[in-house]
Amino acid sequence: MIRSFLKYLLFLILLAQTASAQFYYFGRNKVQYTNFDWKVLRTEHFEIYYYTEMKELAERGAQFAEESYRSHEQQFNHNISRRIPLVFYSSHLHFEQTNITPDFIPEGVGGFFEFMKGRVVIPYDGSMKRFEHVIRHELVHVFMHSKINRVLLDHRQSQDRTPPLWFTEGLAEFWSTAWDTQAEMVMRDAVLSNYVVPLNDMDRIYGSFLMYKEGQNLLAFIAERYGPEKILLLMENFWKAASFNEVMKMTIGKTYKEFDEEWIYHLKKQYYPIMAREDLPSGVTKNVVDVGFNMKPLFYNRDGKRELYFIGNQTGYTSIYRVDLDKEKPTPEVLVEGERTNEFEAFHLFQNKLDISKNGVLAFVTKSGETDVLHLFDLKTEKMQETLRFTNLVVLGSPSWSPDGNRIALSAVDKSGMSDLCLFDMTSRTLSRLTNDIYEDRDPAWAPDGSTIIFSSDRTPYGKEGYLNLFSYNVATAEIEYITIGRANFLSPSWSPDGKFLTFTSDIDGAHNVWALDMSQPKLARPMLKVTHLTTAAQDPSWTDRDEMVFTAFENFSFQIKKIRGVSSLLSSASEKREFRFDVNKDPWEAPRLESSSIEADYRYAGDYKLDIAQSQVSTDPVFGTSGGAAVAMSDVLGNDQYYFLIYNTAQARSEFLESFNIAISRISLGKRANYDYGIFHFAGYRYDLTDPDVYYYERAFGGYFVLSYPLSQFRRFETGVTVSSSDKDIFVDPVPRKALLVSSSCSYVADNSLWGPTGPLDGSRTRLTLAYTTDVQHSNVSYYSIIADYRNYWRLSTRSSLASRVNLWYNDGKEARRFFMGGSWDLRGWPRWEIRGQKIWFMSHELRFPFIDQIGIRFPFGGVSFSSIRGALFTDVGGAWDSEYTDTKGSIGAGIRFNLGGIVVLRYDIGKRIENNMAKFQDGLFYQFFFGWDF
């Protein structure tokens, strides 16, 4: 009974946890900052969920979706027999608030397909081309999921298997976009730096961007070498074998291993010749900084100190760093630490440049709460000067100071999703919009003479294919003029200090490299000069004051800042030049919009509930007999409202049926910033009290509860709850049954900004403070208060090691106060699990966490297995428990290893000694403890 009850409870708790991060013991908060007014646009094949401000965007997205549908149904020889729910957000920041997935969405996620209800969720990021790409990509997943299920169903096979992720993601890329320079950058680097992961070993890069691009590349290779129809056949033959390796063999006649030989040879033939004319970044430049990803470098001479400012993530948190550019091996200094507080929640590592005014004010953008904000940081005083938040602007990007330091140009996305250029006047404190259209405008760079702003935009005939060219915006006349034109990308403009050269990156030669234009020459007579000749990519060029340039280069699957000297001589001797033809058609493209005749309905969303899961179970226990029950969860399309039903019965005879009925109904609401959870329950049956295992009793409890969770930020929240429960307890060793009408109320403060490694937190801190009171309002049988204080701090010692400490106090006092328990691998190690009990418990633990073995591989004749990131720990624990009188302190010291199994569970093995007799004596011999669980 108790076992089955616990099973159901665990099931329900798991469901609730996945449904709402806010109701964890610790954990960050997915804050619903924005009140969305959801509407539904129904087209022939889609139900498109959007909010009022982004209607125009939704109609364009609808057009892309319908076009993609028509294309995919031909590619798959299949269609979808229901309307596909397609949920649009106008920005990534809004997308991060979605409740369709309980997970936090990293900045790199461009959209996702949730296969249980077949929902597709996509944010707009300012670019119509990328919007179209993501829509096509996610719809490939929808079609593939349906097609594979159909194939298995037709052959009467279980639908519980899917193709490997390299195939699903590789195909989603292959059938949604052309092979672009980003993909080329990744594959060139993988081949030339010698880390291509063969198909046979693809699990090593499971879910990584490299896996996506390798998948795309090898499917393109299959299509070219064996015929495009083989891609479809790989799906249609999916029923033929349990292993995809076998399916490959049956479809193209090659196993993974045989295919790998062919494919990797092809890659070498393709990419090795590039080395004859281009260089690996490490071959011609040196890293300024070595650890982590480091991007967006910016030079500044601060009172004679030549410094480089950049955004990096070497500690795991993304922050702004500073190094002395003249030192040989400079140590980066953290200037603004990000991702720990609401103020600097996220830096948008890959998107936003930094800029420093002539007065030494650093301008940078972070996410802070609902929107991005613009921070101005005074480098002279090293203090934050001010933080600017702009009404109606959701996403900000790449600020650029005017030469006089009075204005800031920046790119911005409003709630409608449109990405435009804006100008903030520091004197009048006003924000004006420089562009206002559907085109993507980004990377503003103010010319040194203050007359123009150079920016990158897709407002060209080639914009429909996703290409961005450079334009100048005349500040006085508001005229926009072409600076470059062509079927290539021109990004990250930056001026030389004397204003003569405009540098930028372009992929016109197949890989992003730094190029320059001599702006002192007339427009029609200034060729584009190639500055760098790298095989992979150079990004974000920035000049220093000594004829040098710093930029970001991609190599060994990492972005690092590089420095090159003698830029003027490179420019004067530049052998590769390109000239532009400005006499071609320069009319910008038009983004299509779904015709009104294709819109079948457009209405306000009113909640559309569907089943998430329904599961029933019958279980038999040798002691408690047979019990049966079911659990059902349902939620609305947007995941804002969730209902959970639990029902089970533990009766062993007909007469016990009613008194053994257990039911719980709860509703969790996540649609607003304040989340709440309420429900009713009736639990009855025979139980062991875990805190007093000798006591076996029957209890019937029914009542209701309400929990409110209000996130103050992503890192902190306030919780409160009340439970009213009628509890009749019949303890067999006690002749008088205990009756009570219990009212329990609590309030908590929870904070968590921890950064996790493979087996647990490595940095940051976690706090939980709870005050609660429980009383029997009917019979006064129960009356006690509770204090729970739990603080954990993690001191980072190096990139992969840290010292973790925690202090806990669990305190119940009063009539019939419940007892807590500890002991075991999760708290007081070395002591038997749950053996130490008391109404009051204190506990302290310190643990040194460090990398132990990075990888162990075993190769059998039939295949191999490998385990990575095995970590070591040295620990000491101390604590005590008591009811009324404190008697004994217990402790332990030891060492252990842990490793993460598939990202789901951490296995841990500890060896140590207990410290017994009130900390007076070490245990004879050693204890050995094997268990599971994440590090505290």
Partner: protein, 406 residues
């Protein structure tokens, strides 16, 4: 019959419920049911002991005739209404065969079902080694069935006693066999055209598309005009092999794979490639007469009369072309992929689409006369037998449709 129902509906829970209800005789019931299930699982068969009278409109092979023209000898006038629905419990990718009120259909689960066309009731079933991807061929009292996986992938089954007359090990076969005279022709996935004596399954000759390591798979079923056997391959080759000698008469190289089955009519061989190009070749010489670019993909065979050709494509269009010149005569748009051959029935062209609709179009003009929305996607060509149409959809159901006025 009850036993078969239990087995075929896969309702283990129903069985358990029966056992539970029979509480007092639980063990006896369990033993009986276990025995019956054992028998049912191993001994399913088709036995049609009455003699079957041939009709001119019998549908005995894929495409209705060895030339695969998908032209019916009888017609039904729309509107049609469903009379019964049969659930084969697994996908059906070949067309049903019909003779004297008996329908035979293969499933992707690897079963052959016999159905009474008048009632929709099952008359029996037989278990094959694996999925029946193509359409079997019915000749006399025998059905020749090819399977997609396994060892004994080709078999001849007697419908009179359900016994296997012979079996053959030819590797995976995803095409529909063909019977002409005393011979059975089948193309294997491995790229071999086998000519067997239909009486005993012994090889008469075989034609291989090159060396084993280099030959391309074949998913295009063979068609014949009586002189040559024509089929396409994944490598884009279209091959015509002399029916009696097994010698290659001609070969034509298309630009991409051929999945569809060729249609032979009036001295022409018409077949679509996966890149959407429809080729019309002289059946005697292999010379290209014309080609028509549809701009999309072609998964399905065409249907043909003596003068016209009708092709359905992945963009949902059905296009009528002049057989002589390849000139487009008319076009009709369905709302989704057309992945099965249209069916010519007198003046009416029936077209099934994955948009779930069966369309009746006027052969001469493409004008839509009628449409019927089926409960699921239509990926198998309809078949007409007498005054009834058999419509296969999503993908395990077969419905019988009859004209409303009757």
């Amino acid at each position: 019959m009850g036993l078969l129902k239990l087995r075929n509906r896969g309702t283990v829970t129903s069985l358990l419920s029966c056992i539970r209800k029979a509480d007092s005789h639980r063990w006896l019931c369990l033993a009986i049911f276990s025995t019956l299930i054992f028998l049912a699982s191993g001994c399913g068969s088709i036995r049609i002991q009455r003699s079957l009278a041939p009709k001119p409109y019998d549908w005995l092979t894929y495409g209705g005739a060895p030339s695969r023209t998908n032209e019916s000898f009888s017609t039904v006038m729309p509107p049609l209404k469903p009379m019964w629905e049969y659930d084969a419990l697994a996908g059906i990718s070949g067309t049903p065969l019909v003779k004297d009120s008996v329908v035979i259909v293969g499933t992707l689960r690897g079963e052959l079902h016999a159905i009474n066309i008048a009632t929709g009731n099952r008359m029996g079933y037989a278990v094959m080694e694996s999925a029946v991807s193509g359409t079997p061929v019915w000749d006399g009292g025998y059905v020749y069935v090819a399977c997609a996986l396994g060892t004994e992938t080709l078999l001849c089954m007697s419908l009179r006693d359900g016994m296997r007359r012979w079996t053959g090990k030819y590797g995976p076969i995803e095409t529909s066999p063909l019977v002409v005279g005393e011979f059975l022709y089948v193309v294997t996935l491995d790229g071999v055209l086998e000519c067997l004596k239909k009486a005993d399954g012994l090889e008469f000759w075989k034609y291989e598309l090159g060396e084993k390591d280099v030959r391309k798979p074949v998913r295009s079923s063979p068609a014949t005009d009586g002189e040559v056997i024509v089929f396409g391959s994944d490598g884009g080759g279209i091959y015509a092999v002399e029916r009696l000698s097994g010698k290659l008469r001609w070969e034509y190289q298309a630009t991409t794979s051929i999945f569809a089955t060729p249609v032979l009519s009036n001295g022409m061989c018409v077949v679509g490639a996966i890149d959407g190009v429809l080729y019309a070749l002289d059946t005697r010489t292999g010379e290209l007469r014309w080609k028509y670019e549809t701009g999309t993909r072609i998964f399905a065979p065409a249907a043909a009369t003596q003068k016209q050709i009708f092709i359905g494509t992945a963009d949902g269009k059905v296009t009528a072309l002049s057989l002589e010149s390849g000139k487009k005569l008319w076009s009709f748009s369905c709302r989704s992929v057309v992945s099965c051959a249209p069916l010519v029935a007198g003046d009416i062209l029936y077209v099934g689409s994955q948009d779930r609709n069966l369309y009746a179009l006027r052969v001469a003009t493409g004008e839509k006369l009628w449409q019927y929305e089926a409960p699921g996607r239509i990926k198998v060509s309809p078949v007409i037998w007498g005054d009834m149409m058999l419509l296969t959809y999503e993908d395990r159901y077969i419905a019988a449709l009859k004209p409303v006025q009757q």
